[in-house]
């Protein structure tokens, strides 16, 4: 099974607008799933200038804005297969 590279922006704006919750969700995933995610925090990369809105994550190199816990779980489900919770 393929793993996922997941980068999460921990800059001020992203953190305030939801990245804190996203990290909580990711850290509390069941162990078998959590192990398949290469989670990495990144400092602000000025993604907010790209047109989309914070908080930003990068899944396998693709930038996604306005990320929510629900959307994140759904995306992980799609990418990894099976259910996340």
């Amino acid at each position: 099974m393929k793993n996922i590279d997941l980068e999460i922006c921990t800059g001020t704006t992203c953190y305030l607008l939801g990245a804190a919750d996203l990290i909580d969700v990711l850290e509390n995933l069941p162990e078998p799933l959590r192990e398949r995610i290469n989670l990495r925090g990144v400092a602000c990369e000025d993604l907010c200038k790209s047109g989309s809105r914070p908080p930003f994550v990068k899944i396998n190199g693709i930038v996604i804005g306005e990320m929510t816990s629900e959307r994140l779980l759904a995306t992980l489900e799609n990418t990894l297969g099976g259910t996340t919770c």
Partner: protein, 393 residues
């Protein structure tokens, strides 16, 4: 002589009381750069004792600030303050310590336990001049002790209230309390473990141990004050990218060459330094709280944190002297602890505006970087007697 006088104090209030009957006053005179420390113990405990100790301490502080001779100051205080009608003794004991800009310490003691002088990790006896006071209203013979010490690097003066020497009183291990000699041995023990121990840590170790001997419930107010004369420990705090990009490289060089500890506060700043110095930035997702974003690691840098939220939390911790927060693992707790354990802080503040912070959907206002750095510097100077400088780039 380039030195810093590291001064800190700690207190454990008597069990059941909300306010200490021991009072400490610290100040530094702007004109001639003298440090003044006062420890006063009011008769009894609680609010009444606190008022007595505060009155005595404040008077002492004012007199010494106004460059009055400290022996004379003590006499004036004792003649002004009444004696307790029931007990016929003074309302408050006190110790006054004045340290001049060139490291000359003058100490005056009235009825507090003798202070302990540490040189090269061991207790050193100091010669004291006795002076008797003959107040008609006083019941017992009163005397004040005066001493002078020319401080050398590494010297310490440790002052404490009788809550320390009497700790453990009546317990099988310490039927007569901890007592002066054992307190001195305890401090020598601390010196054996860490000769560079900061005043902040030393006073906390001492008061915690005293409370421990009191079986976890302080039987009296336990207060310790420490003066540590040492080479200055410096810290450089860099926050915000420079207004002009051509200053990026010089700023990064300055960080790399700084002789003391270094903190980067801000993602953009961290990315900039990472790029300029070609050092990898690794975010540690565990080092965070709900309100403080994760801190990061970079080779050669003591601490790397997020910017505004972390700085705001640091300002709060320092302003409220929230010491419980200092043991936390998040970026702000570590940051505040680093500042407290340094003597001089240099703040290098980049003034480029962060567009991400202009986002109207952010639920509350993110402060202006300069304002927050000013708050931190002010709290360090006022609450912790540190020296700070701020530069804008």
């Amino acid at each position: 002589m380039d030195y810093f006088t590291d001064i800190a104090w700690a207190q454990q209030v008597k069990e059941g009381q909300r306010i200490g009957g021991d009072a400490v006053f610290l100040s530094r005179t702007e004109k001639d750069d003298r440090n003044i420390c006062i420890l006063s113990d009011g008769l009894g405990s609680g609010v009444k004792a606190n008022v007595l100790a505060t009155m005595t301490g404040r008077m002492a502080q004012r007199y010494v600030e106004e460059e009055k001779d400290i022996i004379r100051a003590a006499e004036i205080i004792m003649n002004t303050l009444p004696v307790c009608r029931e007990r016929r003794i003074s309302y408050a004991t006190f110790t006054i310590c004045e340290i001049t800009a060139d490291g000359e310490a003058r100490i005056l003691e009235y009825d507090n336990p003798p202070y302990i002088m540490i040189r090269e990790g061991r207790v050193m006896e100091v010669e004291k001049i006795r002076r008797e006071l003959n107040r008609p209203s006083a019941f017992k013979k009163e005397e004040i002790l005066y001493s002078e010490v020319k401080l050398q690097y590494g010297d310490r003066l440790i002052f404490f209230s009788d809550g320390v020497t009497q700790a453990g009183l009546g317990t099988p291990g310490y039927p007569l309390g901890w007592r002066q000699k054992k307190v001195a041995q305890f401090i020598e023990g601390l010196m054996n473990t860490d000769r560079m121990l900061s005043s902040w840590h030393l006073t906390r170790s001492l008061t915690r141990q005293a409370r421990f001997l009191d079986r976890g419930k302080a039987m009296d107010d336990i207060t310790a004050l420490s003066v540590y004369f040492r080479r200055p420990r410096e810290i450089l705090v860099v926050t915000g990218p420079p207004m002009d990009q051509k200053n990026d490289a010089p700023m990064a060089r300055r960080i790399a060459e700084f002789p003391g500890k270094t903190v980067l506060a801000g993602g953009t700043t961290a990315n900039l330094v990472s790029r300029e110095l070609n050092r990898k930035l690794t975010i540690n997702l565990k080092m965070r709280t709900e309100k403080v974003p994760p801190a990061s690691e970079m080779e050669g840098i003591t601490l790397v944190t997020e910017g505004m939220l972390t700085l705001t939390r640091v300002a709060e911790i320092l302003e409220k002297k929230d010491e419980d927060a200092l043991s936390g693992y998040d970026g702000a707790s570590r940051f505040a602890a680093l500042l407290i354990n340094s003597d001089r802080a240099v703040f290098l503040v980049g003034t480029r505006i962060n567009e991400a912070h202009q986002d109207p959907s952010i639920p509350f206002e993110i402060g202006i970087r300069r304002t927050i750095v000013k708050r931190i510097a002010a709290a360090l100077e006022t609450n912790y007697l540190k020296k700070t400088t701020t530069e804008y780039i």
